[in-house]
Amino acid sequence: MNFGVVVFPGSNCDKDAQYAVESLGHSCQLIWHKDTDLPKDVDCIILPGGFSYGDYLRSGAIARFSPIMEAVKKFAEDDGIVVGICNGFQILVESGLLPGALMKNKSTKFICKEQSLKVVNNKTVFTNQYQQDESISLPIAHGDGNYYVPESKYEEIKKNNQILFTYNDNPNGSSYGIAGVKNEKGNVMGMMPHPERAVDSILGGEDGVKIFQSIISHHQGRGQQNG
């Protein structure tokens, strides 16, 4: 499977995401934000963590206008798989590909720690290798990870099973403890925790591997269906 990771100015987890998917045996290319087209053969686009445009104004607010984002939107419309991690999640909500908004952590401080999460929905492109309601542990590292959805929207995304992960003890004040969501169609997801940092036991955990494996397994299944 071919992954593509977009490099925005200020991205700093781009190479980590690349390393993670490559270490799982898949190919990955870095895509420059000023490009207007995605490489022909990519199957999944990752918007990586970091501080695109220094997080100035609001996290993700400026990066969403990068030239490549038009192509990413088109890719998503055509059912391509898009994953936003941390800053990538912020870019996806700013560009309207995912619901909600990300505000400053309730403590107003940056938080870097191992975080326990619950897999709320395991019937998705991104989570099919986990058990329903499984408790997993992934690193978080963010200053603006406080996810906001108004109640009405919450009811809607809950009904649509769009919530993928919730925090076991809400570290940042997120509405309903939400840590990761997908779009209604189910091909775009964003999450604040860093699965790409949890694919190697020597770094403290491997609970992130299944996210990539879920995507890969979904993709392979889709390939078989098609032909």
Binding site: L57, R58, A61, I62, F65, V93, E94, G100, A101, M103, K104, N105, K106, S107, T108, N146, Y148, P150, G173
Partner: protein
């Protein structure tokens, strides 16, 4: 030349973590009189537009696209000729 002034603030009902943190800090400094803290952002833009209408139009677009996030923020703006 036109001077545009934009104010952006959180929508009603959305808790602003920073304003809350400031409120807590003010209290911990002993200022118990303070009942409420809110904050907002102001932007000042100088626009070299052909007309005031044009400046108004451009500024409104800039607010919508960039300066405010409609999911959580409201904005207002004014334009004056320099």
């Amino acid at each position: 030349m036109y001077n545009g002034k934009v104010t952006v603030q959180y929508r009603n009902g959305i808790l602003d973590p920073q304003a809350q943190a400031i409120h807590r800090a003010v209290k911990s400094l002993g200022y118990d009189s303070v009942q409420e803290v809110e904050q907002r952002k102001e932007f000042f833009l100088k626009l070299d537009c052909a007309s005031k209408d044009q400046a108004n139009k451009e500024l409104d677009e800039i607010c919508q696209k960039l300066l405010a996030n409609p999911a959580i923020e409201d904005y207002e703006y004014t334009v004056e000729e320099e």
